[in-house]
Amino acid sequence: MNRTPLPHPGAPAAHALTAPKRRRTGRVVLTVLAVVVALAFLVPVLWLIASTFRSSTETFANSSSMNWHMLWPAHWTLENLRSAVDNGFLRNLANSVIVAAVTVVLGIAISAMAAFALAVVDFPGRRIVFGLVVLSFLVPFEAIAIPLAHTFSDWGLTNNFPALVLPGLGNGLAIFTLRQFFLGIPPELAEAARVDGAGWPRIFLRIYLPLTRPALIGTGLVLFLFQWQAYLWPILVTTSDDKDVAPVAIAKTFAAFSSDYGRVFAETAVLAVIPAVILLGLQRYFVASVASTGSKN
């Protein structure tokens, strides 16, 4: 168990005998701290899941005094989930899935193309265009959503999927991240392909996209989360219940059933499980893709 002395908190090697022991104690303390913090973040999720599988009366009966039934239902029931399904939540969920899926596919294509031009193709004014793209994403979408909604309704673009998808496509962070990755690919590859007579589209599709698959997945996650979370924009451009995305449906349920929260818990749990599962599988791509965000060119 002789680990190389990595830079971890611990005493300098001067006290050869006490140092390893002290270091081990430090590690135990830090581990306990990590576990406690992680559980603190997890408890609301556990409460949400438990509340999904019990009646609302039980939820509040058990929370008037602290006991373990707060996080573990005494009587399990699927009533809340059924109530959500019966009231058309699957329709809202499907809307969210469609909007997110279309956004991810088109968004990756658009961002990757732009990032490719900004990282690889040498043209005059490239720096200016890149600056414009970065600036554009410093203005958060939510801040200009309200005037944009007026424009969209002037154009007759309300209550349909294009209106919901469009804002998710123009993502400066995605372009920025992919550009960083493209810059990391040796330009000699593109140069060699050009000498062999390949055009830019071919270089893009055959060299750059296959080599940056992790970054593309990470970008896809960013685009997915943006749409999956979207709330302000959907309430601005949709008015009919059957076009509502799932987060809007939850807010409406919450506002309408202030005495019976079972359905709210069930809908939220379903809406949360999907990204949680995706992220558990793809988290390393997410970490890898955000890693380049803060690094220098």
């Binding site: 830079p7 971890h8 908190p9 300098p12 590690r27 830090l30 581990t31 701290l33 913090v37 992680a38 973040f41 609301p44 999720v45 409460w47 602290m66 658009i110 961002s111 193309m113 732009a114 031009a117 900004l118 040498d122 043209f123 490239r126 265009v129 414009l132 793209v133 958060p140 939510e142 801040a143 200009i144 959503a145 309200i146 005037p147 944009l148 007026h150 424009t151 469009l166 804002p167 123009g170 593109a190 050009r194 000498v195 830019w200 979370q229 709330y231 302000l232 799932a246 809007v248 939850i250 919450f254 818990f265 939220t268 949360a272 988290q283 890898a288 955000v290 890693a291 803060g294 690094s295």
Partner: protein, 315 residues
């Protein structure tokens, strides 16, 4: 990185040799048209989604109309702004927004940084702890807001937990003195894990040789954090600082779903107030003027953050 330094040579046999100037110009034109094609969708989206709304906001802010009237809006110059600036409710909204941001941003970043450092210490099962802390970021904001709204009810589990240690019932979202703290709690439960991931990625990028050198020099953990980690983490930290500030300035769902800006306007942050003016009071002109104020405020604050961190980098 640039291709201009390479000359289009190396294919001696096939094409008839053209004068160098022609070749270069042809290549430049080829690159320009390729760049134009590749960039068109993204630039079109930027124009439609970022530029047009700002123009629309300026237009809305300088006009006025009666609600429901069919007459075209009338140009009024800066009248909407002067009306806004003399409104007590507006200044109280600005004040609440600034107080909220001054509290929430440092808190979230310090927590995210502390957790990022903790979870890059090679502890057992680090991946699991990271994932659990990141998990709330995956729960859609609406869901988090709703669940916390229920948890913070007078008869909810948070008050039950407090009761078990002898603290009597707290109003949380309906208490003038507590609503800000409650929103900060909700926003931080969602945000801290998300920003932590960016900082973990940044920490992983720091070459271990710096730590080894510092350890040889006898620097303790705190000294290493100040002299090695912080300086080398400046870029990811700047990104997180700016992105977190921006996202907290436009935080909207918790107020719209849980507090309606109340009680007594204590959570009536600018972003919610703009929505409220625009849709509930049907006054898009005041809302647009207010939106421009919010945009200017955000740009100033982000610029200051950039400046501060850059000057820190130079010193």
């Amino acid at each position: 990185m640039t291709l201009t330094t390479h000359h289009p040579a190396g294919d001696g046999a096939k094409p008839p040799p053209l004068p160098r100037g022609t070749l270069q110009r042809r290549r430049l034109l080829g690159n320009l048209s390729a760049a134009a094609i590749f960039l068109t969708p993204a630039l079109a989206l930027i124009v439609v989604l970022r530029l047009i709304p700002v123009v629309q906001a300026v237009n809305d802010a300088t006009h006025t109309s009666l609600p429901g009237s069919t007459l075209p809006p009338r140009y009024v110059g800066f009248d909407n702004f002067t009306a806004l600036f003399s409104s007590h409710a507006f200044w109280s909204s600005v004040q609440q927004t600034l107080i909220f941001n001054v509290l929430v941003n440092p808190l979230q970043i310090v927590l995210a940084l502390a957790l990022a450092v903790l979870l890059t210490q090679n502890l057992p099962a680090t991946g699991i702890w990271r994932t659990l802390i990141f998990l709330p970021a995956a729960v859609p904001m609406t869901g988090s807001a709703v669940v916390w709204g229920i948890a913070l009810r007078p008869d909810g589990p948070v008050n039950a937990a407090l009761a078990s240690v002898g603290i009597h019932q707290q109003p949380f979202l309906t208490g003038q003195g507590q609503v800000l703290g409650s929103i900060i709690l909700i926003a931080s439960w969602i945000g801290v894990g998300y920003w932590m991931i960016f900082l973990i990625a940044g920490l992983n990028d720091i070459p271990t040789v710096y730590y080894e050198a510092a350890a040889i020099d006898g620097a303790g953990p705190l000294r290493r954090f100040w002299s090695v980690t912080l300086p080398l983490l400046r870029r990811p930290l700047l990104f997180v600082l700016v992105a977190d500030t921006v996202s907290n300035f436009v935080l909207f769902a918790p107020m719209q779903i849980l507090t309606d800006g109340g009680p007594q306007g204590k959570s009536n942050f600018l972003m919610y107030d703009i929505f409220h003016n625009s849709f509930e009071l049907s006054d898009p002109h005041t809302a647009a003027a207010e939106l421009l104020v919010l945009l200017v405020l955000m740009i100033v604050i982000v610029a200051v953050q950039f400046r501060l961190l850059r000057s820190a980098e130079e010193s």
